[in-house]
Every structure is written in C-alpha cells, then in structure tokens.
C-alpha cells in the first residue's frame, strides 16, 4: 500500500476551492488519508498463547514434583528415634531436607509470583488490544460518517461543480 501523502500535501485543503465561475467557489475534492482507516484483524489473545499456557503447565508440574521430592526425602530419613550411626545419618538427611525444602519453597514462591505477573500482563495486554480494536472501528466509523455527511452537505447545497466531460468524437489518432 502506498499512501498519498506527498501528492495530498501538494493540494489545497478541503474547503478551499478553486473558483471556476465568477462569483462561485467550488469546494475542493475531499483529501484522502495517508494511512489505512480500515481495522486490521486483531491478534489472538495473549492469554491463550502457547507460551503462556506452557508456562502454567510447567509450573504446575514443578510444584507437584517438588512436593513428591520432599515426601521422598522425609521418608528416606527413616523412623524417628533410631540410634547409632543410622540415627546420625537420618538426622543429617532430615536437616538437609529441611534446608532444601526451605530453598525450594522460596523458589516456588518467586516463580509463582512471576507466573502470576505474566498472566496479569497478558490479561492487561488483551484488554488494551481489545480497546485499540474498538478505537479502530470507531475511527473508521467517524471517517465514513464524516465523509458521507460532507458530500451530502455539498450535494444539498448544490455546490458540487459540473466538470467538463469530454463529449466529442476524436480522430482516433
């Protein structure tokens, strides 16, 4: 698509017409737009995008998997109250598991916040996209109605000029 920007700018603005007859001013033809006024198709919602859906699914798997790991680690610690070397190892394992559980919990909390933030951004973006789509429709409607009204007014006022249409036969040369 090419706009008519350069050519349009060289023309007088609408309403400033050229006089073709004494005492009568003919309105200049309406100018055209340099950008498309018809709305393009809106992009699909970001919330439904594969990337967002995948992010949620992976996080859900991660959370459920982490809970399983914690259970396994706790189970491996053995029954409480056993003495000897096994008891020391069990205490160490339990301590390590507790530390790991604390770190994993912080990570999951952070990732959960991140996922929720991404979801919120996606929702906001979809809302903005929808509003832009509505504005594009409104702009087109305004352009259409103003254009129609403009010509109707000129028709009603009888100010449209009668151009000289060629009407004679030519020589064919």
């Amino acid at each position: 698509m090419t706009g008519a920007t350069g050519e349009e700018q060289a023309r007088p603005p609408s309403g400033v017409g050229a006089s073709t007859a004494p005492g009568r001013t003919v309105p200049a033809a309406p100018r055209l737009l340099s950008q498309r006024a018809d709305p393009q198709g809106l992009p699909s919602p970001v919330r439904d995008a594969d990337e967002i859906a995948s992010l949620h699914a992976k996080f859900a798997r991660l959370v459920s998997g982490a809970q399983g790991e914690v259970a396994d680690v706790a189970g491996a610690a053995g029954p409480a109250g056993t003495g000897g070397a096994g008891g020391v190892r069990a205490k160490v394992r339990a301590r390590v598991a507790a530390v790991a559980r604390a770190d994993a919990g912080a990570d999951r909390e952070f990732m959960g916040d991140l996922v929720r933030a991404v979801a919120a951004l996606a929702e906001r973006m979809d809302d903005v996209t929808s509003r832009i789509g509505n504005l594009e429709l409104l702009v087109q409607d305004v352009v259409d109605r103003v254009s129609e009204d403009l010509t109707r007014v000129h028709e009603a006022l009888g100010t449209l000029d009668a151009p000289r249409w060629p009407d004679g036969p030519g020589t064919g040369a």
């Binding site: 737009l33 254009s147 129609e148 009668a162 151009p163 064919g172």
Partner: protein, 349 residues
C-alpha cells in the same frame, strides 16, 4: 462502379494502433473480408504484413521513383497518390474512411474511383454515408434529427475473455464487492491522481470498496484510504476487474465506441458514463446511467448500489452489448446490408 473489393483507408491503424478507431477499422476490415476482398491502405511508410492484412502504404516513395511520396504517417497529396507507388484501381465496390481524417476522403477517389465512400464514425451527423460503430438507441428525438445522408448502425465485434468471470484478480486480496472506476483514457494525459471526481466518490461511498484504475495502476479504497495497490498489465487484468465489479464508472470513455463500457456490459456489469460521451448511448439503451456533473455522478453511483436497479440494467445492457458488439455473424450481416445499401447496383450476383 463494379467489383467486389473493398478498400479501407486508415491512418490510425499504424499511427495509433491502440486507439478505438484503429480497433474499429480492424474489426470492420475483418468483417468485410467475409463479404469481399479487402485492401487496407495506410499513409506512407513501407508495406507491412499485419496479421490478416497486408498493409499497403499510400504515397511511399519507391526507390526508383523520382517524385511523389509522403512522410510516414501522413497521407500523400492526392496528385502524388497516382504516382508509380499508387495502387492500380482494382474495381473497388466501396471505400471505408475514418471520421475526422480529412486527408483520406480525397484519396478515396484516387484509390477507388467510382466506389462508394463510407465514413466510419461514432454516430450519425457527419453529413455523408457512414457506418456508425458507436451505439445510439432509436428514440423519437434522435430519429427526428435532420440527416443529409444515410447512416447504417453496424456495431462491431468486441471480444472479451469468458474466463475472466471465473477468476479473481490476485491484487484484490480480501476486497469483497466493489465499484470499479476507470479514470483515464489511452492517448489522453493521465489526470491528477486520483481525480477530483474520484475523490468525491471515495468520500460519498466511504463504506464501500472502490477500485480505481488510473495510469495503468489499480488501487482499492475503503474509508478514503488505499487498502490495496497493484498494476494492470494486460487486458485480461482489466477484464477480471470488470467482470467481478458490481458496476463500472467510466469517467473518460473511448471516443468512438467506448470499448471498456462495451466490455463491461458484455460481462453483465452495468455502467455509469458521462452524458454526451460515446458511451452515453449504451447507457440510454438500458445498460446504465449517464451523468453530467459530480452531483449526478454520485447519484448514479448510489443508484447502482441498489441490487434491483443493478440487475435490471445488467440484463438489458448485456443483451444490448451482445447483440451489437458480441455477434460477429450479425456484424457481417449488418455490414453486408450497409454495403448493399450504399452500392445497390454493384451487388455481386
């Protein structure tokens, strides 16, 4: 006056081969060839084999000739036409010359002495026996015009590709139904783009798609903005655009028979044309509407947006165009009748 030959004196055939007059002369020469032997004479230059006809230059200076001749593209003086390069009289029955070509008629008397001279014209009123290739409906007002010579309405054969209806032009992309505006004419300066009349139409019908063909390029418009642009390279491109349009507005129809309007009607697409143009007869004949001002142009475009009106005009216009411009056998019959009327006593047995 005798013989079965027909001479065609045409300057536009070589000078402006794409013009409507050249197209008309080619069509008539082809139809004449079904009735008689045809010799096509062109001004100056060298003999040219041009499709079905060998063009015979009049006034071309022969290498051994000392005098006579003419500049290429110009008819020679009638006195020079009888020089050694002039054709021998061949018993011509009739001579066809172009309207608006004053140099051809005097030569006709030299090339074909005694033959009937028929002027190929747009419509009646030239004051001489004529073949009118432009369409003018029979109305009381027009038939009452004083004429000093018989004018036979022959029409032409105007070919269109039937496959254009079935195809969609690649440049239209997602453009649905549209009004087609033809904004220029071959041989005339391309108007400022887009012309004022087009701008008014684009503003008045901002909700509709409008495709404008000007200067060999097509642009699709919606809401006063360009939504698609592509070049119109071939006649097939134009036919595809015509055949799919809801209606065709021709701001500058051809000066002889309004070829694009005829083609549109043959596709069953109604037209809107300037009153007084060569296409106005087609509109008055039922194929469309005529306008004489921008306001009337907008009214015509609005009327053509009505499906019922469009359908009625399309049906009548197609029947008219097929009869006068889509029937080669009918053209031969009409032309034969015109030749018989012009040369009743030379009719071959």
């Amino acid at each position: 006056m005798s013989g079965h030959r027909v001479a065609v004196l045409t300057a536009s055939w070589t000078r402006a081969p794409g013009s409507e007059m050249a197209t008309a002369m080619r069509s008539l020469a082809g139809a004449c060839s079904r009735l008689a032997a045809v010799d096509v004479y062109v001004p100056g230059g060298a003999p040219v084999a041009d499709g079905a006809f060998d063009l015979r230059p009049l006034g071309a200076r022969a290498p051994h000739a000392g005098g006579g001749g003419a500049k290429p593209g110009r008819w020679p003086d009638p006195a020079d036409a009888s020089a050694p390069t002039a054709p021998e009289p061949a018993g011509y029955r009739a001579v066809l010359v172009e309207e608006g070509d004053p140099g051809a008629r005097p030569l006709a008397a030299v090339v074909a002495p005694g033959a009937a001279v028929l002027t190929v014209c747009r419509s009646a009123g030239s004051g001489a026996p004529a073949l009118a290739v432009g369409f003018t409906p029979d109305t009381a007002a027009e038939t009452s015009l004083p004429t000093t010579a018989p004018v036979d309405r022959t029409g032409l054969y105007c070919r269109v590709h039937p496959g254009a209806r079935e195809r969609r032009h690649y440049g239209l992309r997602g453009v649905p139904d549209y009004l087609l505006i033809l904004g220029d004419r071959r041989g005339m300066p391309v108007p400022a783009w887009p012309s004022d009349a087009v701008r008014w139409v684009l503003a008045r019908f901002a909700r509709s798609y409008v495709v404008v063909v000007e200067g060999g390029a097509a642009r699709a418009w919606r809401s006063r903005s360009c939504v698609a642009e592509f070049e119109v390279h071939t006649r097939m491109d134009l036919w595809m655009l015509m055949a799919r349009a809801t209606a065709v507005v021709d701001l500058l129809p051809g000066e002889v028979f309004a070829r694009e309007c005829v083609e549109s009607l043959r596709y069953g697409v109604p037209i809107a044309v300037p009153a007084g143009s060569a296409a106005a007869g087609l509109a008055r004949g039922g194929g469309g509407l005529a306008f004489s001002s921008t306001a009337e142009l907008l009214s015509c475009a609005g009327a053509l947006a009505d499906p019922a009106t469009r359908e009625a005009l399309a049906t009548a216009g197609r029947a008219l165009a097929d009869r006068w411009y889509g029937d080669p056998a009918g053209l031969v019959v009409r032309l034969g009748a015109a030749l018989d009327a012009a040369t009743p006593r030379s009719r071959p047995a």
